[in-house]
């Protein structure tokens, strides 16, 4: 049996995300034998050894984690592991240089945070990373609140957070949510740039899972930038990419094959081709509805006429979605129809192609199919974080 494959998913991920704790060094060694190339596991192993007062072994584990993170193109995580190693044994200049050189030479996933770190020279990088502080938060914790002074810049090393932005009143209070977005590993936050502006937070940031953050204070960053103008340039680029990132995250959704098969009540007005004829008013339910059309089972009231006679007719649909209080009003055309037996009686099922709907109705229908923007964004944030090759 391929026990390895299965256990990796159910156990190792949980160890890494903090929902399972392994506090036996022996058990951890067994795990590492099974999964020798998992950088996250080596990093946690280092934490355990440090706790167990085995500094030499802990430093080795952090070193291995850093190496494996570099190989995976995860610069920030490599730096954090290396910092832990260096907290135990102060590095020589050669070791520092070798590490920075390895970061520059490694393959990179094209992310703003990678460009930021690898854009620095050896002295700049050392000036920056030695001022980084690490902080852990449990799931459901609060990192930053609306109105807090913005004096820290954060990088997400691991885990997921949610940022909720609010409209601000002139009195300083907050009203209504403006937007929410998710932050995952390699994202960053903190409105500290341009340095001359004194900002207060416009948002709450809370953790969704256990989170590890690397942070640097605004005052330290100003000092580094004063001595290293290139770092200031890189911070500016990072700030710019954050604005682009926010825009991208908010608008990104999947619009591929999703359709809803949760039955939805529909009122249909089927217009007759002959002028002067009264439209047929019917009630039915959708078996399948997408943004382009719906398959509608007509209520048993429709028992007259041949089903084929419905094809080509124009219809007005009033759709009551189970999740919203408003009714959607959509104009369409019946493109196919067939006779069916439903609830003991003959009726018809028709395929309606949607022709016209208002933008508001389209948005409501989109949300119904794909989930809210928040749900979509979280799925995609996690996809990027956990699945992207």
């Amino acid at each position: 049996m391929n026990d390895r494959i299965h256990k990796r998913n159910s156990l190792v991920n949980r160890i890494i995300d903090g929902s399972v704790t392994v506090d036996s060094v022996t058990k951890f060694e067994d795990l590492l034998k099974a999964f020798p190339n998992d950088p996250g596991l080596h990093r946690i192993y280092g934490d355990l050894l440090k706790k167990e007062n085995s500094p030499n072994a802990a430093a080795d584990a952090y070193g291995t984690a850093a190496k494996l993170f570099i190989e995976s193109g995860m610069t920030l995580q490599a730096i954090v592991s290396k910092l832990f190693e260096w907290q135990i044994f102060k590095p020589s200049q050669q070791e520092e240089q070798a590490f920075c050189s390895a970061l520059h030479q490694a393959r990179h996933i094209d992310r703003a945070v990678q460009r930021f770190f690898t854009g620095m020279t050896y002295p700049e990088m050392m000036a920056f990373i030695t001022k980084l502080m690490l902080e852990n938060f449990p799931a459901g914790g609060s990192v930053k609140k609306f109105g807090d002074e913005e004096n820290t810049f954060y990088f997400v090393v691991s885990g997921a957070l949610e940022e909720t932005e609010y409209h601000r009143l002139e009195t300083g209070g907050r009203i209504r949510k403006k937007s929410t977005r998710n932050l995952i590993e390699n994202d960053f936050f903190g409105e500290i740039y341009p340095f001359g502006e004194e900002n207060v937070s416009q948002s709450d940031i809370k953790t969704i899972t256990r989170v590890e953050l690397a942070k640097i204070s605004k005052s330290n960053l100003i000092n580094i930038c004063r001595k290293n103008p290139n770092v200031k340039l890189l911070v500016g680029n990072l700030h710019k990419s954050r604005s682009e990132f926010v825009e991208k995250k908010v608008t990104r959704t999947v619009r591929k094959t999703a359709r809803q098969t949760l039955p939805t009540q529909v009122n249909l007005k089927i217009f007759q081709n002959e002028t002067g004829k009264v439209p047929l008013d019917l009630v039915g339910f959708t078996e399948d509805i997408s943004l382009g059309g719906a398959r509608v089972v007509l209520g048993t009231k429709y028992q007259t006429g041949h089903a084929d006679n419905l094809t080509g007719k124009h219809v007005k649909l009033k759709i009551s979605l189970p999740t919203v209080s408003v009714r959607l009003s959509i104009l369409g055309t019946i493109v196919w129809s067939k006779k069916v037996y439903f609830e003991g009686k003959n009726t018809a099922v028709v395929g309606v192609q949607f022709n016209e709907m208002t933008d508001t109705d389209r948005r409501v229908l989109e949300d119904y199919h794909y989930g809210s923007a928040g749900e979509q964004n979280l799925i995609w944030s996690l996809w990027d974080s956990l699945m992207e090759k």
């Binding site: 991920n13 969704i208 399948d288 003991g344 799925i379």
Partner: protein
Amino acid sequence: MREEQDTEMESAPIIWAIGGGKGGVGKSVLSTILSFWLARMGKRTVLIDVDLGGANLHTLMGIKNPPRTLNDFITRKFKSLEDICIDTEAKNLRLISGSSEVLSLANPHFSQKVKLINHFSMLDADYVVIDLGAGTSFNVLDFFLAAHEKIIVLTPEPTSIQNAYIFVRNAVYRRLSRLCSKSPSLQPLVKIAMDPKNEFKIRTVKELLQFIQESGGKDAAEPLEKGIGEIRPVVITNMVKSNKEKNAGRIVQIVSEKYLMIQSTDLGSVSYDRQIFAMVSDMSPLIRLDQSSHAFANIYDVATKLLKD
């Protein structure tokens, strides 16, 4: 593995329902092999094809034309589900085949569904494994919600993850709507709150329950919270080809917890197995799958974990 016969006291069978929204994610394959393992562990098992619109589970068992189907029970040709159970070549495993022939069966009355669910519980078996159809129709959701173990299958693809999540979301809505039908005053409240563009900025089930608590009192929210809390699905990622792909179930787990207050369990993954595809194409009985197959072993693991639950 040693075959053993259970000597448990006679009681209603435990029902496992396998759904997941998207077609082609391997629900039927997983149902078949899970049932096979249960049977091999000595559990008297009945596998039921509830894909009422497109039943095909019998083909995975190597049966071309099932002599009796669920339709024979619905149309009262047979009085008991026991009468329509078909023996399979695996000891302890019987099959109730679905029917693709009669469209009316694809839309049973709610009373017919209740009757069916009650009859599932009367089967002379230790375990009943229900293979649900694709999609999130009321049929699928009602059978899913009625099961003791609610299993969601997905593959590591964006659309499958999305559909699996929507499946959980619709199950929550269905449960909420059934609960609200018992207290009509809550219905408009829930509907307003669930509108994605609602002016109250309610975005999660937790916020919805808070809203109801503030609007209708604590007593109104409590049964809803309890009802939702009882939906504790397990998630299985199927057809996995790499370590990263095993995280697909975790995504559904995290999003469901945050937006729907659903505590799900990521039960692990099943490796992609070319042999299974070949067997399905050849209509060879899946239970003859080479037992050294990774997928076969993964599903054994899933079965043992579910049994420990």
